[in-house]
Symmetry: C2
Subunit: 300 residues, 2 copies
């Protein structure tokens, strides 16, 4: 077969919902209006109209379209469980790779993966291609894909790259003019750190999100699409690993809060070099945590 008619079915059902709100024998809006309202092309609207006319729900002659009878529940078209979207696919794929510790060098099987993730093979192909630049995946010369895998090497290089980007961001941050809105954000995030620190015993789990916000803030002062793109990969991977390594979690998080605070204090004092040094320390810790988490997971 070809394209799914999911769009048609959804539009059809939405149209039923709309018709139900209308009084009997009411005149209907134009095709273009419906098209924009439902977010589909006019072709789909026309197909829906025709179906509805055939089912005796409305009558159409030219532009004089009218409601004939109220739609019933059995008029709805069932829609098969749809394919998952791109973001969902990304999440599931990374989860699979990282959680099951797929060995480096594994040849990926498109068909099998496509079934596993419930996507058409094409979508998977495209997804893998888009992952190409992240260095996790490689195209085999004679077709097929190979998972390069999330190795220790990879983690080291990722951390170093992260360090390059983030130290640069810290330097830029320290040089911001006093009236830049980022300073207000920084004060807010600092308070959140202090707040979390006061109740760390109980809520140490909340650190992961705060960590994400902190690094996002630091990097936000560098307006650069390439940096932003990589930041996505980086935060994704670090985020995933934080989820597992539960050893010493409370301790690690408390220490990390301290390191964050030192960076922020130095920044607020406009002391660039001190901020850079503090950031360097923090990133080193972060790298160590990532590596040890990998070692632990690998032995498991």
């Amino acid at each position: 077969m070809a394209r799914t008619d999911t769009r048609f079915r959804q539009a059809h059902n939405q149209m039923l919902d709309h018709l139900r709100t209308l009084p009997h024998d009411a005149p209907l809006a134009s095709e273009v209006q419906f098209a924009t309202r439902l977010g589909v092309s006019r072709t789909v609207v026309r197909a829906v109209m025709q179906k509805l006319a055939a089912d005796g729900i409305l009558r159409q002659d030219g532009r004089g379209k009218r409601l004939v009878r109220a739609p019933r529940d059995k008029d709805r078209l069932p829609l098969r469980d749809d394919y998952i979207g791109r973001d969902e696919l990304e999440a599931r794929f990374l989860d699979w790779v990282l959680r099951f510790d797929v060995p480096a060098g594994t040849a990926l099987n498109i068909t099998q993966l496509a079934r596993q993730f419930n996507v058409p093979t094409h979508a998977l192909q495209e997804f893998l291609a888009s992952l190409g630049q992240s260095g996790l995946i490689e195209r085999r010369p004679r077709g097929g894909w190979r998972l390069l895998g999330f190795t220790a090497d990879y983690a080291v290089e990722l951390s170093e790259f992260r360090q390059v980007l983030e130290l640069n961001a810290v330097r830029s941050f320290a040089a911001l003019p006093a009236d830049h809105p980022a300073w207000a954000d920084l004060a807010r995030v600092r308070d959140e750190h202090l707040d979390l620190l006061s109740r760390i015993e109980r809520d140490y789990h909340d650190f992961s999100r705060l960590d994400g916000r902190f690094h996002a803030l630091i990097n936000s002062v560098v307006q650069n699409r390439f940096v932003a793109e990589f930041q996505k990969v980086i935060s994704l991977i670090f985020h995933y690993h934080y989820q597992w390594d539960k050893t010493m979690e409370r301790f690690r998080n408390e220490a990390a809060i301290g390191e964050h605070l030192r960076i922020m204090t130095a920044l607020e004092a406009r002391d660039g070099p001190a901020a850079e040094a503090a950031a360097r320390t923090h990133l080193a810790t972060s790298k160590e945590t990532l590596l040890s988490s990998m070692r632990g997971h690998h032995l498991a």
Copy 2:
């Protein structure tokens, strides 16, 4: 139809070439040996063998395969002009985008582009997806692709990103131990600069390649797959723009050689800060050149 049989045809012709070197009635090697020699799977070898047997060129019963008659020229299978490879596609695509100055926001037409570049639609899809991270291209929500375009913004951000990476590389370079092989490479590249400078009047065109080698050398000391990946994009784009902006080319190149030499002198003196400063100057010039080249091209 399905997969092309290009592989089969190529293997077939290669096999003919091989058979021609053999004496009459000679016994042939095993299928596996041919498979590895021709770089294809055994299935293809068998298909070729069968065809050759059907054409009366060889006789096969079990493992006793023998040459029956020498192959003639008309036994060769014609192979239709094959699809172009990935690198070729990349080159052509960038050439198209940059040279024809395709306006930002243009919706790309897969089918048309596939015809234009002589690739199957699928290959193009995959290529566009792989370009996703480069920020030149965007997936439209309801299918299709949009060219974000090579705008001034893009050039600025690319240059800044390049600066972050390359300054980091320069710092690493200055800190290398004295016995690192990169120092020898540096001396060689420096001599090449001096050499080109002495004959700049005539050979100023040769600078583009030397420039590429210089920056590649600087970045080679950072062993990082992410850096390497981006370096590819960066050098590609800068390379393309160098090709057009012919204004003042001789002057620009001479000046650039001087800037390169200053960086190298500082490096050889192990003066990190001086090298960084020189690199900063050079990258600023480079950025200006790129921007002005774009302005010139845009008005044309």
